[in-house]
Symmetry: C2
Subunit: 326 residues, 2 copies
């Protein structure tokens, strides 16, 4: 880190209070060559990194407060999908130039979310160049409790949290590819695109209940596909059960909605599987979490592939989601 | 991760052998939402992340093999400066397009270096956009043995490993700002710029010997300045003692060489301090490591600042190193 970077980081990113849940496990935070971390006894460390590039992962005109919120939420969503409790984060940010008001808004929004989840920023790297961000997120999970993609078993029930498709519709609205009259729905769908909620509490509640989980970043079909691939399974899903918001159903055609819900992506809801015997445990664990969760299908034998049913009849599979290199 | 990314990563980056020194501590590597890591008993985790942007941190025409080597070495250098043993790494790579031969050369060079240091690639993220890389490096250190910037004490001796200034000269040669006749020196200086060696073994040898350490990324003056700032000290350094390669001294003017050595940066040698009583321990620890190390000055009271002596007389301080935002 050079002196300019150092001052920049100090001004905007060195707000640590040392009163976060896991501050006591940080031997050294921002400012040295490395951060030094102790891992609580009987826990393992979950780590994930995500990069966000302007015009690829976000629209170039995004507000800095939305960018900070979304990029951090998306990064935390990976921890949620494993059942991890988020503890620390590092940020790499590449900026075309130093802009005080941009950094002020960005860091204010970032720390609001970090404080909400009780996560400490323990390091970072700032450089000049085309706008992009990278978050490395750290979380802890009791030994043996991590929820992997590979654990789904024959006849397990498939669920999703929340509603699907809102984010894809919100993106279309933001890009002016769509118009709707209902102003409340307009704001709500755009918010679902810009301010996804990482399902941290749901992920933690699923420890010892779910056999597998993933967060829906590329679309249900694509992400459930990863579970099936890692678990060597097939699945059927009942499209009549896919949870859809009133904002979607009251404003758009059903086929359009279904396409967003199945392959639009960026919902950051969890898709997970449970053995049938865990239904009551699931209901109990999710009872206080104030978010719908919906049974959408079942795990089948690998040879069956992924089959979508509608009105009791099989439908052709949907596209496999968004590919950043296509 | 989408399907295109997944295939890409599988083809070029999923070479893990599971026979690395710390493979047994990985509960889950590449391919899920997070990597899951166990930390060996009585060790703490050191983490660092570095971003490398084309035209800022490296010349756009750099060979992919050199880019992989340099970016990983520079990232590992942060672990070296803390005395950490490198264990795992994740890579975020942003590419303008998919190019098979580029990725082949890049990944071949990357894995050569990873294998040399016995480090496992445990995750990554590939995206489309302007060329940049980010490495997150992980290492372990026995509890209580990390070498921080903040530990230098009055009268401690200041040392550097290797020679200084070669990398800055190599950069000038690469940019055609300079010419020299000696072909061997030309190749050697360019190699010192493109292929820095992270001083991992030296860092580990300095545990319980050094009171502070830093790697020289921005230049001796700037980086020693960080030690002084974090340790609330001053220092004098004797410029006559600065270690310089024959490639520099036989081809360039002394003042030019000194400027490179003090503020050129990118040498990735270690600058460290030891209490005088540890001189013999240092000689013993470094005896087998086949790299020169040189006493260059002493820690003084904070009020003295940083003073450079030449021929026994104080000289004005040099510039504070390279600032990516200037």
């Amino acid at each position: 880190m050079n002196s300019g970077e150092f001052e920049l980081i100090k001004k905007y990113f060195n707000h640590t209070k040392n009163t976060y849940n896991y501050s006591n496990y940080i031997e050294l935070g921002i400012g040295d060559d490395c951060a030094l971390l102790k891992i609580p006894k009987n826990q393992i460390l979950a780590v994930s990194n995500d990069t966000f590039v302007a015009d690829v992962h976000f629209l170039n005109n995004i507000k800095p407060s939305d960018l900070a919120y979304k990029a951090l939420s998306v990064s935390l969503s990976d921890l949620a999908a494993m059942g991890a409790d988020p503890t620390w984060v590092t940020l790499s940010i590449t900026l075309p130039k130093l802009n005080d008001s941009w950094l002020f808004s960005f860091s204010k929004s970032l720390f609001k979310l970090l404080n909400y989840y009780n996560i400490e920023l323990i390091g970072g790297d700032t450089t000049r160049g085309p706008l992009s961000l990278g978050f490395n997120v750290y979380g802890i999970i009791p030994k043996g409790c991590a929820i992997k993609r590979s654990g789904a078993k024959l006849n397990d029930l498939i669920y999703v949290t929340g509603n699907l498709g809102d984010s894809a519709a919100g993106l279309q609205l933001l890009q002016n590819n769509l118009k709707i009259k209902n102003a409340k729905s307009y704001r709500s769908l755009i918010k679902r695109h810009l301010r996804p909620v990482p399902r941290i509490e749901q992920g933690k509640a699923l420890r010892s209940i779910a056999s597998s989980a993933i967060d829906i970043s590329d679309g249900l079909i694509s992400d459930l596909g990863h579970i099936l691939q890692h678990s060597s399974c097939g699945a059927y899903i009942n499209l009549d059960n896919i949870p859809l918001s009133h904002d979607l159903t009251s404003n758009f055609e059903f086929n359009q909605i279904l396409s967003w819900a199945l392959s639009g992506g960026e919902d950051y809801e969890l898709c997970f599987t449970i053995p049938e015997k865990n239904i009551h445990k699931l209901d109990t664990a999710f009872n206080d979490l104030d978010l719908p969760y919906t049974y959408i299908g079942r795990i089948t034998h690998k040879s069956k592939g992924l089959v979508c049913f509608k009105n009791g009849k099989p439908l052709e599979s949907y596209n496999k989601g968004f590919d950043h290199f296509k």
